[in-house]
């Protein structure tokens, strides 16, 4: 589809802007824009659930958390002091890019039905999930039923993050 190209160029522009800008507050704003754009790319590829999570968490909640962290800093903490780029990076980065492009040439094409990812177990999920679980959304069926133990452990990770934040950051004896 021809429409992907301007969106991907826009994505790279936002990513570069978030790195190159001078202070942390602007960097947080541009990261929010980056998340919006990435969610649009996911939506365009048809991954609606991923787009929803990316948009809600990346553009909404993460921005709020970053800002609440910046609330407690002072003005001079949020300036970024950047040392000049070492000359080895100019040599190494193009080599790494070439290596990655060489590796990407062997990947299967987008949406290829014969690729390993879509021949192993996903046909079974796609065919049987509605009869077995009564859930039209396959992503929810896989996350919550076929792979529910993984989801349980992810929930434990989120819970642990909340507990760790409270232990480290909250003051007083409460």
């Amino acid at each position: 589809m021809t429409f992907e190209l301007p969106l991907l160029i826009f994505l790279v522009m936002t990513a570069a802007g978030a790195i190159l800008v001078k202070d942390l507050i602007s960097s947080v704003f541009i990261l929010g824009t980056y998340s919006f754009t990435l969610a649009l790319v996911w939506a365009l590829l048809g991954a609606v659930d991923v787009a929803f999570v990316e948009g809600v968490v990346g553009a909404g909640l993460a921005t709020v958390f970053f800002l609440l962290t910046l609330f407690t800093t002072s003005e001079k903490d949020t300036q970024i002091r950047r040392s000049p780029m070492p000359w080895t990076a100019f040599l190494a980065l193009p080599l790494v890019a070439l290596l990655l492009l060489y590796g990407a040439a062997d990947l299967p094409a987008f949406g290829d039905p014969g690729s390993p990812a879509s021949t192993h177990i996903s046909p079974e999920y796609l065919e049987n999930s509605v009869q077995q679980t009564g859930t039209p959304n396959v992503v929810t069926a896989i996350l919550m039923d076929y792979r529910s133990l993984d989801t349980l452990v992810e929930t434990i990770v989120i819970f642990t993050a909340g507990i760790a934040c409270a232990l480290i950051l909250r003051k007083g004896d409460s």
């Binding site: 021809t2 429409f3 301007p6 969106l7 826009f10 522009m13 936002t14 802007g17 800008v21 507050i25 602007s26 704003f29 541009i30 929010g32 824009t33 919006f36 754009t37 969610a39 649009l40 939506a43 365009l44 048809g46 609606v48 787009a51 929803f52 948009g55 809600v56 553009a59 909404g60 909640l61 921005t63 709020v64 800002l67 609440l68 910046l70 609330f71 003005e75």
Partner: protein
């Protein structure tokens, strides 16, 4: 009809680039905030247009409602943060 929607999509992305210029270059912090809000408005409209092109509007409308609500939280947090920081500087 489809080519018309494609035209709308590409126009909206070009307009987002204009706002991105304001976010990156903007002389004051508030220019950046305004640019961010402009981009998120475009993104909300863009999602509904993508849904219309794919003929699955009922899915994409939910995402864009979530965007609109979460955008309010982020923007109000930014506004309060800048207001309190500016007040503490004086």
């Amino acid at each position: 009809m489809n080519s018309f929607f494609l035209f709308v999509l590409i126009t909206l992305v070009v307009l987002m680039v204009v706002y991105l210029y304001r976010v990156v270059r903007g002389p004051s912090v508030f220019d950046r905030v305004l640019g961010l809000n402009g981009i998120s408005t475009k993104a909300i409209v863009l999602l509904v247009v993508i849904g219309t092109v794919f003929e699955r509007v009922e899915m994409f409308v939910d995402i864009s409602t979530g965007y609109a609500l979460l955008n309010l939280v982020g923007a109000l947090a930014i506004a309060k943060f800048l207001e309190e920081r500016g007040a503490s500087q004086k």
